[in-house]
Symmetry: C2
Subunit: 245 residues, 2 copies
């Protein structure tokens, strides 16, 4: 751990780097196979064989098959962030910004639609690290809500502080809903999802402008309380193993 040496060290000085190569090899192979044959149909043995390693070795780098999904999710998440930044630099109108970010989301995950179902399934498990509310995904979730915060604050539309406070989380939930719809959408090119997304964005924007009226302040206050309580950071994390209740 101290210092130096050999052909393999990272400037980071942590691991030898050889492992990182193997790790990447396994992940690439896995994602390829997932996309080709689907998640359930791809066995760990097949992944290992295609990657030219042993099964045990795959498990040395990924604690479980699920953790491969997590890696996939992290990747598309990054892609979406990048695509969104582009949109947010270009567009100033709230409508264009939200629409662009949402469209970017669907575009990003499009190639993986069929096995995104599995991701959603796993994510729904409270015990899974993939769960959006788990500690492990806290950073990703944070980045997502930050993104929505940027959508509403970086544009040319001024909103009341209440809304600015509540909207990022609400929009995050909203975008999850759209993805849920998308996962079940078998229309060619997921056309229905895109249409649904556009319509709902319009509705969301109208709701936003509606709640700008000072008259509706009490609603916002109440909403804010709920959203605050929804904040997952304050939710105790389900601890798994011992004991029955």
């Amino acid at each position: 751990m101290t210092s130096s040496a050999g052909l393999l060290k990272r400037e980071d000085g942590k691991k030898t780097g050889k492992g990182e190569q193997t790790r990447a090899q396994i992940l690439e192979t896995a994602l390829d196979l997932f996309r080709e044959r689907g998640y359930e149909e791809t066995t760990m043995r097949a992944i290992a064989e295609s990657a030219g390693v042993s099964v045990g070795n795959a498990y040395y780098y990924f604690k479980s098959k699920e953790h491969l999904i997590q890696a996939f999710y992290a990747r598309t998440h990054e892609e979406h962030l990048a695509a969104s930044r582009e949109v947010l630099l270009r567009e100033r109108g709230l409508r264009e910004r939200l629409l662009g970010v949402m469209r970017a989301k669907l575009d990003t995950i499009a190639p993986y639609r069929q096995f995104s179902g599995v991701l959603f399934k796993t994510a729904a498990d409270p015990a899974s690290p993939l769960n959006p509310f788990s500690v492990e995904s806290q950073p990703v979730r944070q980045q997502s809500t930050d993104l929505f915060a940027e959508v509403i604050t970086g544009g040319d539309t001024r909103l009341t502080p209440d809304l600015v406070a509540a909207l990022p989380n609400l929009l995050w939930v909203y975008h999850m809903g759209i993805i849920l719809y998308w996962i079940h959408d078998n229309s060619p090119g997921c056309a229905k999802s895109y249409r649904m997304m556009e319509r709902s964005v319009r509705l969301v924007l109208r709701l936003i402008s509606l709640f700008q009226f000072p008259l509706l302040r009490p609603f916002l206050k109440e909403l804010l309380v709920l959203v605050t309580e929804l904040r997952v950071d304050e939710m105790p994390v389900p601890l798994p193993p011992p004991g029955v209740e």
Copy 2:
């Protein structure tokens, strides 16, 4: 036609009835074990052994371990309907009715909280028959939305037709959201969930009365379009490979 011993032929002349007994035995045993040890920890072999049958026999009656969850779900669903009917007979105020139905829901599933997570996980899988949007669960879903329809139409509060049309589905989604929160709620007695439920019910009611204003008619129209499109009946169902049951 019917043999004198009685229990060997159904009126509909389909099955012998002996099987029904075995089926019930397996289901009861399974649910007991699930509640005691949890879902993942309960093996099909253990269920079969405890029920005094072979593994293969368990699979003769339940196509998969998942289908045991489905049976459980059907049961608590019935319980909730019963409890709700009681509430709806007693209460006339919209607030009391919605609150009562929601509370009944949480009360009904309370004993199974820890393994309800699994149910949710499975339900999130688009390919699962347990999925709320699947054909298999269409009847249950229908009954649920009918229940919410009864909540709003059977009380002493008159609502605009638009709202009456849109609300059942919206309330169904809302109640799913509460359950999602509940699943992640580790507070003693799920107190946070109950509080969240009460607060959100209050908010929902205020929103309902808000959208009674004729001024907000366009919103309702737009919402109605979305909700109609959300109707899962119109969503093409991902068909499972072989035959039906």
